[in-house]
């Protein structure tokens, strides 16, 4: 009889420990995911240490300030990801008056605002927007995107890392 109860004790202790460990994991995941959800409100300042923002280069900011100078109303640069292009997804830039959806994220640098909708944001975490000037074209481009596999060389279309 004795050995069986000993085994039983050890088993229950083992399982109790596992249950406690799982609870700890679940609660920490819960806390970390809420921290991520809260992040957008704090990431709107460029000095935030959050690495999942969408960034603008100085050239990009300068170009936006130039565009703003000839506009009566405040303009925001909207970046969205749409399906298409030769590599699956493509970037689309637009000049808008205000964010359209309540869950749009706004990133700001030196007064210049970049708006990204919630769905596109998943493909743009940590990306950098630049304004590139060449002989053949001058345009806004996403020059770095950790979520993307190197897709199109012109950088308007990309493939997502799985």
């Amino acid at each position: 009889m004795a050995p069986r109860t000993l085994i039983l004790h050890r088993l229950t202790a083992h399982f109790a420990g596992r249950i406690r460990q799982n609870q700890r994991l679940l609660s920490s995941h819960f806390y970390s995911s809420t921290a991520l959800e809260e992040a957008p409100s704090s990431s709107s300042s460029s000095s935030s240490p959050n690495l999942d923002g969408v960034y603008m280069t100085d050239t990009c900011v300068q170009k936006m300030k130039q565009l703003q100078a000839s506009e009566a109303q405040e303009k925001l640069l909207r970046l969205s990801v749409e399906t298409g292009g030769c590599s699956g997804f493509q970037y689309v830039f637009d000049l808008v008056d205000d964010k359209t959806n309540p869950d749009d994220r706004v990133f700001e640098k030196e007064g210049v605002k970049l708006v990204v909708d919630n769905i596109s944001y998943d493909f743009l975490k940590g990306a950098t927007v630049d304004y590139v000037e060449e002989l053949i074209r001058s345009a806004f481009q996403v020059t770095e995107n950790p979520s993307a596999v190197q897709g199109c060389s012109c950088k308007s279309s990309f493939m997502v890392k799985l």
Binding site: G84, C86, F93, D94, L135, I136, R137, C152, S153, S157
Partner: protein, 139 residues
């Protein structure tokens, strides 16, 4: 019989230079942009080429040039001079070069009848002759 061949020969003579002149045409917007760039930088020509790159075979290149290479094709349209790299010529015949300028971008756009499929930005394109070229360069 002889009249027909004479007629064809005469027609070919008249069409051939026109066909060569039409290799690439420019819109007014493209021509005035080219003129502006050449005057600003005091260069003689813009040279159009292609390179094997991009997601869909080829992409266009544009550079300043001061001298016409021996085998470069000279295009004169609307008062501006464009050189076409000989390697690019067969890929760009019939292309219309345009220039679009809006708040977000200003770029040269190429409307190429030979192009089969384009990248979203329009930069990369494929022609029947290019798919062979890319295979060769990859091999």
């Amino acid at each position: 019989m002889m009249m027909a061949s004479q007629f064809l020969a005469a027609a070919a003579e008249r069409i051939a230079p026109a066909a060569r002149r039409q290799a690439v045409i420019l819109t007014d917007a493209a021509a005035s942009r080219v003129r502006q760039l050449l005057e600003q930088r005091q260069r003689s020509y813009l040279k159009l080429g292609v390179k094997s790159r991009g997601c869909n075979g080829l992409s266009y290149t544009l550079n300043y040039a001061d001298d016409k290479g021996r085998f470069d094709e000279l295009i004169e349209d609307k008062g501006v001079k464009i050189l076409i790299d000989p390697k690019a010529l067969m890929h760009v015949i019939g292309t219309k070069m345009d220039f679009v300028d809006d708040k977000l971008r200003s770029e040269f756009v190429f409307i190429n009848p030979n192009s089969k499929g384009q990248c979203g930005c329009g930069e990369s394109f494929m022609t029947t002759s290019s798919s062979g070229a890319t295979k060769q360069s990859a091999g």
